[in-house]
């Protein structure tokens, strides 16, 4: 297994008037190569949790293991950890600083101490993966549109070839096409390289479509943890904590309630289509 979290708690502003418990006794195991979705309403602690995974934040209590090694152990190499666990922040466009896009993407791999040719090869590859071609290489990051900046920032992490890729709402503010392109690319990388991916998202549709496991956070705790089908079956409880399920779940449940013999387990649009067709076929309505 690649990441294991044991009883991790974290409070912001410890010892001040504004102390706020953001993580409350979280335990989680993420095996190598899994595509995990993390959902939760605003302020539920998602961003806080993922920053613990590459050692940027230190838990107030609890332990975190990467490949079985305790990352809080004396002398543990945090920089090596950070190169293996790539984290793309919410609004990553704010981290761009170089004179042009290409050099900015080179920043990460260069920090790994790779030879220059390798750094450039990786930057090209990563920019290609996020759909930024040659014409963008020499542009200043500040001339790009919001979505293009986002892509450049994601490329900056991809170029480091992390074993684990964590994306904090990578698609907020992107158009539907851009969103699909980026997530398709990430899904492809996950399959090809056996990369572990953690996707923090507010979009139930995105999550249902790509991930194999969903972790639902609520007020610093894990509320549900399981396959999309299992988690979305709790759509009523999800609504109570300010979330919901993909539209398809509602459509299928609605049909079932009206007496249409449809399998309500489907979560993606394709599955829902198949489920409805199957039910129709069974009744020979076509």
């Amino acid at each position: 297994m690649s990441i294991k979290i044991e009883h991790v708690s974290y409070s912001y502003g410890q010892g001040t008037a504004y102390e706020k418990k953001a993580l409350d006794d979280i335990s989680l195991e993420i095996p190598q190569g899994q595509f995990v979705g993390i959902i939760g309403h605003t302020g539920s602690g998602k961003s806080t949790l993922i920053q613990h995974l590459n050692g940027l934040m230190r838990a107030s209590s609890g332990k975190i293991y990467f490949h079985g090694e305790d990352i809080y152990r004396e002398g543990y190499d945090m920089r090596a950890l950070r190169s293996k666990v790539g984290l793309v922040f919410q609004y990553p466009e704010h981290q761009l600083f170089e004179v042009d896009v290409f050099s900015d993407v080179c920043f990460g791999p260069r920090n790994l101490g790779l030879p220059p040719e390798e750094v450039e090869a990786r930057a090209r590859e990563a920019l290609d993966q996020v759909g930024l071609g040659e014409p963008y290489y020499k542009k200043s990051p500040f001339e790009l549109s919001g979505g293009q900046k986002r892509r450049a920032a994601i490329a900056g992490i991809l170029a480091m070839h992390p074993e684990v890729l964590i994306l904090d709402e990578p698609t907020a503010g992107l158009d539907p096409r851009g969103r699909d392109e980026i997530l398709d690319q990430v899904a492809a990388l996950q399959k090809e390289r056996g990369m572990t991916v953690l996707l923090v998202s507010h979009s139930m549709e995105d999550v249902a479509r790509y991930v194999e496991r969903i972790v639902v956070m609520d007020d610093g705790r894990i509320r549900f943890d399981g396959t999309p089908k299992k988690v979305f079956a709790h759509y009523r409880e999800l609504e109570e904590i300010g979330l919901g399920a993909p539209q398809t779940v509602y459509v299928l449940r609605g049909l079932a309630e009206k007496g249409f013999p449809v399998n309500t387990e489907a979560t993606t649009v394709e599955e829902a289509r198949d489920a409805i067709l199957e039910a129709l076929g069974r009744r020979n309505v076509c």
């Binding site: 922040f89 704010h94 761009l96 600083f97 990460g108 480091m160």
Partner: protein, 268 residues
């Protein structure tokens, strides 16, 4: 490190001191700070201690928060005491090698330390019990007469409140960008001075860009909502002195009388 600076950190509580008009608190703090430089005797020291103690009690802010600000002046305090102790002429009481400690020196050092400590605690009490916005409001209103001398009081205080408002935002932003770059393998800790300065580029560039972007957005938003400077502008919550403020001024006057009396009656 930055966490140690309590100055400018509001501590929300429901107390008489919190509810006082910011002007009252400003004047009170000013008077208290000035009074510290008047006193030269233990009696005065006692009066000031009692007064400060009573105010802290009334503010309901834990004492720990008051003294947190002291950490930053520890070094200054030590140096001041050291020089006062050794360089004040008078009756010698102790001689170590070529250095003489005098009776006057001990007293001087002691009073200096007390003054410095009370100075910090006194102003901390004000900032802990008053939001920065309230404070600038108080200053704006208190200094309003200067308007007649063509001092742009409103503009200056608006600038101050915006600056104060932006400090936590920029600190948070710094933290965020630092983390984002560390996630890309940036190293802000190791290396020599030049290397360290160079390593700051990935932090400073995005920080400045975002500060300018924010300033620009804010200016636009203010103009969009019709902000045209102070002229003809009214307040949603105008500052009006309440009974408790007059009471506070009375207590303050009482304190001044006491400390003066103590100074005159027992000159050391």
């Amino acid at each position: 490190m930055l966490k140690d600076i309590t100055l400018g950190q509001y501590y929300p509580r429901d107390s008489v001191i919190h509810r006082l008009d910011p002007r009252t608190k400003l004047v009170g703090t000013l008077v208290f700070l000035l009074s510290l430089f008047l006193f030269r005797s233990f009696a005065c020291c006692l009066v000031a201690t009692l007064f400060l103690g009573a105010v802290i009690r009334a503010s309901k802010v834990p004492f720990g928060f008051m003294v947190r600000g002291l950490r930053s002046i520890m070094v200054l305090l030590a140096i001041t005491m050291f020089f006062n102790l050794l360089l004040t002429p008078g009756i010698p009481v102790l001689r170590i090698w070529k250095l003489t400690v005098t009776r006057e020196g001990i007293l001087q050092a002691l009073f200096m330390a007390i003054r410095l400590i009370y100075l910090i605690i006194g102003s901390t009490v004000m900032t802990l019990t008053t939001t920065p916005n309230h404070l600038t409001d108080g200053m704006e209103k208190g200094l309003a007469p200067l308007n007649r001398l063509h001092v742009p009081v409103h503009e200056v205080s608006m600038m101050m409140s915006i600056a104060l408002r932006f400090i936590p935002i920029l600190m948070e932003e710094t933290d965020k960008i630092m983390k984002a770059q560390m996630a890309r393998g940036a190293d802000f800790e190791s290396g020599g001075l030049i290397k360290k300065a160079k390593n700051l580029v990935p932090l400073l560039v995005p920080l400045f860009v975002s500060a300018f972007r924010r300033a620009n957005d804010l200016a636009l938003a203010m103009e969009a909502r019709g902000y045209r400077g102070g002229q003809g502008r009214t307040k949603m919550k105008p500052l009006i002195y309440q009974k408790r403020d007059y009471g506070a001024y009375l207590i303050l006057a009482g304190y001044l009388v006491c400390i003066c009396a103590a100074g005159i009656l027992s000159p050391l």
